[in-house]
């Protein structure tokens, strides 16, 4: 039987990965985490953005959540999450053109931003081929580990 902390850890790992659906069966317990059909809800202001949450529950939660969020799209959006903590920068240096803009098509190895931590700049790649839908954070924001940075509509 998994402890509560272990379950939390599993959720965290799945949340930060690109895994859309995750099941774990062990003895008489079963965990199902599904991210399918869940994406951000725009409430008007930037602060109002809801980050996609991993849900662990029995199978019906997927459907229930789908009902709760009205503008579900057929194709789930890919979320680029932060691989580290640091300060978010859209461009390689002040005044330079941003790495990517909303509406721009990117390859999976395209650099989308840099995160500065302890004076070191870490490049973040798109991880998926597609179109940048939205930037979820602002230039200069301090970013937490696993925080969503961009939404990408994957090109199938």
């Amino acid at each position: 039987m998994l402890t509560f902390d272990e379950i939390k850890e599993v959720i965290r790992m799945v949340e930060q990965s690109s895994i859309q659906h995750f099941e774990l069966e062990q003895e008489n317990s079963k965990i199902v985490i599904s991210k399918a059909g869940i994406h951000k809800v725009q409430t008007g202001s930037h602060e109002g953005l809801e980050v996609p949450k991993a849900v662990w529950a029995a199978g019906e939660s997927e459907q229930r959540l789908a009902k709760e969020i009205p503008d579900v799209q057929a194709e789930p959006l890919h979320t680029i999450v932060s691989p580290t903590v640091g300060t978010f920068y859209m461009a390689s240096e002040p005044g330079a053109d941003p790495f990517v803009k909303a509406g721009e098509e990117v390859e999976s190895n395209a650099i989308v931003c840099v995160l500065e931590a302890m004076k070191l700049f870490n490049e973040v790649v798109a991880g998926v081929k597609g179109t940048i839908v939205e930037r979820l954070v602002n230039d200069g924001d301090f970013i937490e580990y696993g925080q969503p940075l961009f939404l990408v509509k994957p090109k199938l």
């Binding site: 240096e93 650099i111 302890m118 004076k119 070191l120 700049f121 870490n122 490049e123 973040v124």
Partner: protein, 336 residues
């Protein structure tokens, strides 16, 4: 283990952090002009921060890398390319044996630094590998690099981190990680550079007008500037009355004013003593900025107190220590 010089560039020499302890015998300090970039380049390849590196000026060399090696380029942007492919600065780069590292057009700054893992296997003279160009000692045979020179490399154990680069390299001739250090200190974008100074011993002996103009008027870095000093032109700075001085010690960043009124900022290859009145002293934290200003550019002096200069210096050193720790974690392969 060596690097062969195919073309030397304008002024390319081996430099470390300088030859200290011999100024009392008249031996100048030398060393990298932009010590910040020099230290960074070494840290990026896991060297001691004061290891010898190649300093290049305005126009870089073309080098044949005769061994697989880990290198880092920092400072001014001289458009470095490996086998024709642009290579990024401010990060470790693993390069395949037989590649040619060629520097091209100057995009920003004035001086660029190339560090290689293990440093250069050349003898120390008076505790330093820096080239003392005028005396012909230190560095590679006491002179700037020339075509055909073969620079022997030091030995160093391979870094755990390099293995991941080997995998990333595939069939290309070089590979680098997805992180880098910023260039914010050395490369201001403006046409007029701000240089912070502290008034020096003879500041009060300059005329009230000259003292005011020194901080109000821009000065141009002339083409007579070199590793010894930056000769500036602008308003003529004059003393209230003539002064006969006995030569006394000068330091890195001392601004002295000869009778013609055009100030000179003393740099890495400065003489050990000087007899001209000293109007100001450049704050240690701005020396690297100064070293990246190319002839023709304008600078403007801004007065700060000694206390402020010390605080800025301490903050810069703390920054370097932070960078050092982060880089070490990356090179040890404990961070991703």
């Amino acid at each position: 283990m060596s690097i062969k010089v195919l073309t030397p560039g304008l002024l390319t020499s081996i430099q470390d952090l300088g030859r200290y302890g011999y100024q009392k015998y008249g031996v100048i300090v030398s060393g990298g002009m932009d010590a910040y970039s020099l230290r960074l380049a070494n840290l990026l390849v896991g060297n001691e921060e004061g290891e010898a590196v190649i300093e290049m000026t305005l126009m870089g060399p073309s080098l044949l890398l005769e061994e697989d090696l880990l290198l880092a380029i920092t400072g001014g942007d001289l458009s470095p390319a490996i086998n024709g492919q642009p290579v990024p600065q401010g990060r470790p780069v693993l390069v395949r044996k037989g590649s040619v590292l060629k520097f091209g057009a100057l995009k920003s700054g004035c001086r660029s630094y190339l560090a290689v893992r293990g440093g250069f296997d050349i003898p120390e003279v008076m505790g330093s590998k820096s080239t003392y160009l005028r005396a012909g000692i230190g560095g590679y045979q006491g002179r700037a690099l020339l075509q055909g020179d073969i620079l022997p490399l030091g030995l160093a154990c391979p870094l755990p981190f390099a293995e991941s680069l080997v995998r990333a390299m595939g069939s290309s001739s070089f590979a680098f990680p997805p992180w880098y250090v910023g260039r914010s200190y050395v490369l201001q974008k403006s046409q007029e550079y701000r240089v912070r100074v502290i008034p020096n011993s003879q500041f009060s002996l300059f005329s009230p007008d000259s003292r005011k103009q020194f901080f109000q008027e821009p000065f141009q870095v002339t083409t007579q500037s070199d590793r010894m000093g930056y000769r500036l032109s602008g308003v003529s700075l004059q003393l209230t009355e003539p002064l006969e001085m006995i030569s006394e010690a000068v330091a890195l960043g001392t601004i002295q004013v000869p009778p013609d009124g055009n100030p000179i900022i003393l740099m890495a290859d400065r003489q050990t003593v000087g007899g001209y009145p000293k109007i100001a002293q450049v704050a240690g934290v701005d020396i690297s900025t100064l070293a990246q200003i190319k002839p023709g550019s304008k600078i403007r002096f801004e007065e700060i107190s000694l206390g402020e200069a010390e605080e800025l210096y301490a903050a810069r050193e703390a920054d370097i220590q932070r960078i050092n720790i982060t880089i070490q974690l990356q090179l040890a392969g404990t961070a991703t």
